[in-house]
Symmetry: C2
Subunit: 233 residues, 2 copies
Amino acid sequence: MTRNTIEHDLRRIDDILLRLCELADEAMLGATQALAEADVTTAQRVIDGDRETSALHRELDNLVMYVMARRSPVATDLRRLLAALRVGADAERMNGLSRHVAKVARRRYPRCVAPGSSRDAVLSMGEVAAHGAALTRELLATRDVRLVGQIIAVDDEMDRLHRTLLAYLIGPDWEHGVEPAVDLTLVARFYERYGDHTVTIAHQVHFIVTGEYREPRPRVVIVPPRKQFLMPR
Amino acid sequence: MTRNTIEHDLRRIDDILLRLCELADEAMLGATQALAEADVTTAQRVIDGDRETSALHRELDNLVMYVMARRSPVATDLRRLLAALRVGADAERMNGLSRHVAKVARRRYPRCVAPGSSRDAVLSMGEVAAHGAALTRELLATRDVRLVGQIIAVDDEMDRLHRTLLAYLIGPDWEHGVEPAVDLTLVARFYERYGDHTVTIAHQVHFIVTGEYREPRPRVVIVPPRKQFLMPR
């Protein structure tokens, strides 16, 4: 393996994808803290932190284009390159959604975006997002496709939290008015989309490894994350 | 030009992309009507109408993969193929967002999702969405990159409508309570994202034609669409 083999380029591409997921994970952790603690300093740090993401994404697109034009990849290598484009787009979007969450926190500072028990809902969504991102990073690093089903199950949990929060906002127990409800509707949507992108990445890795796009829904249910958001009774 | 040239495959790919945009445009027109008129029949038709989109998207991915593996494209052809993957993903997402809007209309039937003057806001967003989609279809059909700036300007108008509607929802004039505000927050986000995807497609076509990704923001402002949503005074 010299610097000029296709394998060298593909390894660099894998490193970029993994780093993009790490950056998204870090950004969403910061955004969740900014939201739950009305922490405008962290919010600003997350919002300003998109330079590495943009640079990596540009490098990725150029590298894929270069490898395709110069090395005429076929079979598995071609699959890896096409999947890398899609994974890169998803990871970039996860970074963007984290910044959207941080912007809501900054916009309402010094008020906390999540009043009362909705704060637990936000923390739960943040925890599930981190769980999904950790599994996605592991999947990218190991290509162990058994993780695909776990990522889908974690996203199912995210969807459940999303539905529960929206039901709480429009239900009789919500007593914080329209503005926090509008903010939380947006924030919940950002977390939910973040989870969707982990699933898309999982499908792409599955495609790289097996040549098949779709993974059936898993039959086993994973252990749910520690904190749970329950609608107040 | 015989059936076996790369040009034949690229033309089929262009046809698919154009059709995916047409389908998104039709779906969003139906979704807007479903929302504004509380028309559950149209909502259901939009929701059920994703079969052709899915089939075309699968055909697109397979065809791009095939051409890349068998025909070793370079230069402009390679750019067209890579851009086609991205445009296809954006057009599929526009279709998905239209269905999301229709689902909100169905969920609240027989109540109208948009009470009072928010109905005008929804109609305006629908009209701007249709304007952006029409320009995007024209751009795909003609590759006239002068349309890129117009598409960006139409999306700026969408962003303005989005901000105006959110400000109305959380302002003192909103008197319809939390549930319609939550619904409209989601719906406005779907329209806004729909517009974002027209811009991404425009950038991709710009990339195909010029080899450059970015188009500077336009200096001229287009004529705004006919209907305008104004916050009540």
